[in-house]
Protein backbone atom coordinates (compact mmCIF):
# COMPACT_ATOMS: atom_id res chain seq x y z
CA UNK A 1 0.00 0.00 0.00
CA UNK A 2 1.57 3.23 -1.16
CA UNK A 3 1.45 5.95 1.42
CA UNK A 4 1.19 9.65 0.68
CA UNK A 5 3.41 10.62 -2.24
CA UNK A 6 4.54 14.12 -3.10
CA UNK A 7 6.33 15.48 -6.12
CA UNK A 8 8.79 16.90 -6.74
CA UNK A 9 11.01 16.30 -3.71
CA UNK A 10 13.06 19.44 -4.28
CA UNK A 11 12.45 22.56 -6.30
CA UNK A 12 14.26 25.84 -6.89
CA UNK A 13 12.33 28.83 -8.22
CA UNK A 14 13.00 32.51 -8.78
CA UNK A 15 11.14 35.31 -7.04
CA UNK A 16 7.96 36.21 -8.90
CA UNK A 17 7.56 32.83 -10.51
CA UNK A 18 4.72 30.39 -9.97
CA UNK A 19 5.01 26.84 -8.66
CA UNK A 20 2.78 23.75 -8.54
CA UNK A 21 3.29 20.97 -6.01
CA UNK A 22 1.51 17.64 -6.22
CA UNK A 23 0.20 15.12 -3.72
CA UNK A 24 -1.35 11.68 -4.03
CA UNK A 25 -3.15 10.59 -0.86
CA UNK A 26 -2.91 7.24 0.84
CA UNK A 27 -5.21 4.67 -0.74
CA UNK A 28 -8.77 5.05 0.55
CA UNK A 29 -8.29 8.57 1.94
CA UNK A 30 -10.54 11.33 0.68
CA UNK A 31 -9.15 14.44 2.31
CA UNK A 32 -5.92 16.27 1.60
CA UNK A 33 -4.39 18.97 3.77
CA UNK A 34 -1.38 21.11 2.96
CA UNK A 35 1.10 22.50 5.47
CA UNK A 36 4.05 24.87 5.21
CA UNK A 37 7.01 24.15 7.46
CA UNK A 38 9.61 26.89 7.60
CA UNK A 39 13.10 25.93 8.75
CA UNK A 40 13.19 25.27 12.48
CA UNK A 41 9.43 25.66 12.95
CA UNK A 42 6.37 23.48 13.21
CA UNK A 43 4.07 22.95 10.23
CA UNK A 44 1.49 25.67 9.58
CA UNK A 45 -1.90 24.72 8.11
CA UNK A 46 -2.50 26.19 4.64
CA UNK A 47 -5.77 24.62 3.55
CA UNK A 48 -7.73 21.41 3.23
CA UNK A 49 -9.58 19.86 0.31
CA UNK A 50 -12.48 17.46 0.43
CA UNK A 51 -14.89 16.55 -2.37
CA UNK A 52 -12.86 18.76 -4.70
CA UNK A 53 -13.57 21.86 -2.64
CA UNK A 54 -11.52 23.93 -0.23
CA UNK A 55 -13.13 23.23 3.14
CA UNK A 56 -10.84 25.05 5.53
CA UNK A 57 -8.11 27.61 5.17
CA UNK A 58 -5.37 28.83 7.43
CA UNK A 59 -3.88 32.30 7.55
CA UNK A 60 -2.27 32.33 4.10
CA UNK A 61 -2.71 34.90 1.31
CA UNK A 62 -4.62 34.27 -1.89
CA UNK A 63 -1.33 33.64 -3.69
CA UNK A 64 -1.72 30.15 -2.25
CA UNK A 65 -4.39 28.17 -4.05
CA UNK A 66 -5.16 24.55 -4.59
CA UNK A 67 -7.16 21.95 -6.33
CA UNK A 68 -8.41 18.45 -5.68
CA UNK A 69 -9.13 16.00 -8.48
CA UNK A 70 -11.82 13.29 -8.64
CA UNK A 71 -9.20 10.67 -7.71
CA UNK A 72 -8.55 12.68 -4.50
CA UNK A 73 -5.07 13.79 -5.54
CA UNK A 74 -4.29 17.44 -4.98
CA UNK A 75 -2.16 20.33 -6.17
CA UNK A 76 -0.85 23.34 -4.30
CA UNK A 77 -0.15 26.43 -6.40
CA UNK A 78 1.80 29.43 -5.23
CA UNK A 79 1.90 32.57 -7.40
CA UNK A 80 4.28 35.51 -7.29
CA UNK A 81 6.81 33.66 -5.18
CA UNK A 82 8.56 35.51 -2.38
CA UNK A 83 11.81 34.59 -0.65
CA UNK A 84 9.74 33.92 2.46
CA UNK A 85 7.88 31.13 0.67
CA UNK A 86 11.01 28.97 0.93
CA UNK A 87 9.97 26.05 3.11
CA UNK A 88 9.12 22.37 3.27
CA UNK A 89 5.58 21.82 2.00
CA UNK A 90 3.88 18.83 3.54
CA UNK A 91 0.80 17.05 2.32
CA UNK A 92 -1.32 14.97 4.68
CA UNK A 93 -4.23 12.71 3.82
CA UNK A 94 -7.02 11.44 6.07
CA UNK A 95 -10.69 10.60 6.28
CA UNK A 96 -13.12 13.49 6.69
CA UNK A 97 -15.82 11.59 8.58
CA UNK A 98 -15.68 12.19 12.30
CA UNK A 99 -15.57 9.02 14.30
CA UNK A 100 -13.54 7.16 11.70
CA UNK A 101 -9.80 6.96 11.71
CA UNK A 102 -8.60 10.48 12.28
CA UNK A 103 -4.92 9.71 11.84
CA UNK A 104 -3.33 11.92 9.21
CA UNK A 105 -0.61 10.33 7.11
CA UNK A 106 2.07 12.67 5.82
CA UNK A 107 4.19 12.61 2.72
CA UNK A 108 7.91 13.32 2.75
CA UNK A 109 7.36 16.84 1.58
CA UNK A 110 8.59 19.11 -1.19
CA UNK A 111 11.51 21.36 -0.31
CA UNK A 112 10.92 24.67 -2.13
CA UNK A 113 13.74 27.18 -2.35
CA UNK A 114 13.01 30.63 -3.74
CA UNK A 115 16.07 32.59 -4.92
Amino acid sequence: DAGVTQSPTHLIKTRGQQVTLRCSPKSGHDTVSWYQQALGQGPQFIFQYYEEEERQRGNFPDRFSGHQFPNYSSELNVNALLLGDSALYLCASSFMTVGMNTEAFFGQGTRLTVV
Binding site: T31, S33, Y35, Q41, G42, P43, Q44, F45, Q48, Q56, G58, L88, L90, A92, S94, M96, V98, T102, E103, A104, F105, F106, G107, Q108, G109, R111
Partner: protein, 114 residues
Protein backbone atom coordinates in the same frame (compact mmCIF):
# COMPACT_ATOMS: atom_id res chain seq x y z
CA UNK B 1 -7.77 30.28 18.04
CA UNK B 2 -5.97 27.23 19.28
CA UNK B 3 -2.29 27.55 20.17
CA UNK B 4 0.18 24.84 21.02
CA UNK B 5 3.32 25.57 23.03
CA UNK B 6 6.39 23.41 23.38
CA UNK B 7 8.72 25.11 25.81
CA UNK B 8 11.75 22.86 25.32
CA UNK B 9 13.52 23.63 22.02
CA UNK B 10 16.13 20.93 22.62
CA UNK B 11 16.56 17.96 24.92
CA UNK B 12 18.98 15.09 25.23
CA UNK B 13 18.86 11.74 26.98
CA UNK B 14 21.17 8.80 27.43
CA UNK B 15 20.29 5.60 25.64
CA UNK B 16 17.99 3.37 27.73
CA UNK B 17 16.96 6.27 29.97
CA UNK B 18 13.55 7.96 30.19
CA UNK B 19 12.74 11.44 28.91
CA UNK B 20 9.61 13.59 29.06
CA UNK B 21 8.70 16.22 26.48
CA UNK B 22 6.28 18.97 27.48
CA UNK B 23 3.35 20.47 25.60
CA UNK B 24 0.63 22.89 26.61
CA UNK B 25 -2.27 24.12 24.54
CA UNK B 26 -4.96 26.74 24.66
CA UNK B 27 -8.51 26.07 23.50
CA UNK B 28 -12.10 26.71 24.44
CA UNK B 29 -13.19 23.51 22.73
CA UNK B 30 -14.30 20.46 24.66
CA UNK B 31 -13.99 17.81 21.96
CA UNK B 32 -10.60 17.51 20.38
CA UNK B 33 -7.63 15.27 19.70
CA UNK B 34 -4.01 15.67 20.69
CA UNK B 35 -1.08 14.10 18.90
CA UNK B 36 2.65 13.64 19.13
CA UNK B 37 4.44 13.39 15.80
CA UNK B 38 8.07 12.47 15.20
CA UNK B 39 10.01 14.00 12.31
CA UNK B 40 13.38 12.34 11.65
CA UNK B 41 15.90 13.78 9.18
CA UNK B 42 14.01 12.00 6.40
CA UNK B 43 11.39 14.78 6.93
CA UNK B 44 8.35 12.50 7.01
CA UNK B 45 6.05 13.16 9.94
CA UNK B 46 5.27 9.92 11.77
CA UNK B 47 2.46 9.60 14.29
CA UNK B 48 3.79 8.51 17.68
CA UNK B 49 0.67 8.61 19.81
CA UNK B 50 -2.86 10.04 19.86
CA UNK B 51 -5.15 11.07 22.72
CA UNK B 52 -8.86 11.79 22.52
CA UNK B 53 -9.88 14.54 24.92
CA UNK B 54 -13.02 12.77 26.13
CA UNK B 55 -10.98 9.76 27.28
CA UNK B 56 -9.53 10.16 30.74
CA UNK B 57 -7.15 7.24 30.38
CA UNK B 58 -3.73 8.21 29.15
CA UNK B 59 -2.73 6.72 25.81
CA UNK B 60 0.17 4.27 25.61
CA UNK B 61 2.03 2.87 22.61
CA UNK B 62 4.84 0.52 23.58
CA UNK B 63 7.65 2.71 24.97
CA UNK B 64 5.65 5.91 24.46
CA UNK B 65 3.04 7.20 26.87
CA UNK B 66 1.35 10.50 27.57
CA UNK B 67 0.30 12.41 30.65
CA UNK B 68 -2.90 14.18 29.64
CA UNK B 69 -4.13 16.81 32.08
CA UNK B 70 -7.25 18.28 30.50
CA UNK B 71 -7.95 20.91 33.13
CA UNK B 72 -4.36 22.13 32.98
CA UNK B 73 -4.33 21.82 29.16
CA UNK B 74 -1.12 19.85 29.35
CA UNK B 75 -0.07 16.92 27.18
CA UNK B 76 3.42 15.56 27.85
CA UNK B 77 5.13 12.65 26.11
CA UNK B 78 7.23 10.13 28.03
CA UNK B 79 9.70 7.98 26.14
CA UNK B 80 10.98 5.01 28.12
CA UNK B 81 14.08 2.97 27.33
CA UNK B 82 15.22 5.60 24.81
CA UNK B 83 16.83 4.27 21.65
CA UNK B 84 19.21 5.92 19.19
CA UNK B 85 16.45 5.76 16.58
CA UNK B 86 14.30 8.04 18.73
CA UNK B 87 16.56 10.96 17.79
CA UNK B 88 14.29 13.37 15.88
CA UNK B 89 12.15 16.48 16.11
CA UNK B 90 8.98 15.89 18.11
CA UNK B 91 5.87 17.97 17.48
CA UNK B 92 2.79 18.24 19.62
CA UNK B 93 -0.43 18.92 17.69
CA UNK B 94 -4.05 19.82 18.42
CA UNK B 95 -7.10 19.09 16.28
CA UNK B 96 -10.75 19.94 16.81
CA UNK B 97 -12.86 16.83 16.68
CA UNK B 98 -15.08 17.97 13.80
CA UNK B 99 -12.24 19.22 11.67
CA UNK B 100 -9.14 17.65 10.24
CA UNK B 101 -6.62 20.49 10.31
CA UNK B 102 -3.93 20.24 12.94
CA UNK B 103 -2.20 23.04 14.82
CA UNK B 104 1.40 22.23 15.67
CA UNK B 105 3.82 23.45 18.27
CA UNK B 106 7.30 24.65 17.36
CA UNK B 107 8.85 21.28 18.17
CA UNK B 108 11.45 19.79 20.49
CA UNK B 109 14.69 18.43 19.10
CA UNK B 110 15.49 15.23 20.97
CA UNK B 111 18.95 13.68 20.83
CA UNK B 112 19.54 10.21 22.26
CA UNK B 113 23.19 9.74 23.20
CA UNK B 114 24.94 6.37 23.22
Amino acid sequence: AQTVTQSQPEMSVQEAETVTLSCTYDTSENNYYLFWYKQPPSRQMILVIRQEAYKQQNATENRFSVNFQKAAKSFSLKISDSQLGDTAMYFCAFMKRELNDMRFGAGTRLTVKP
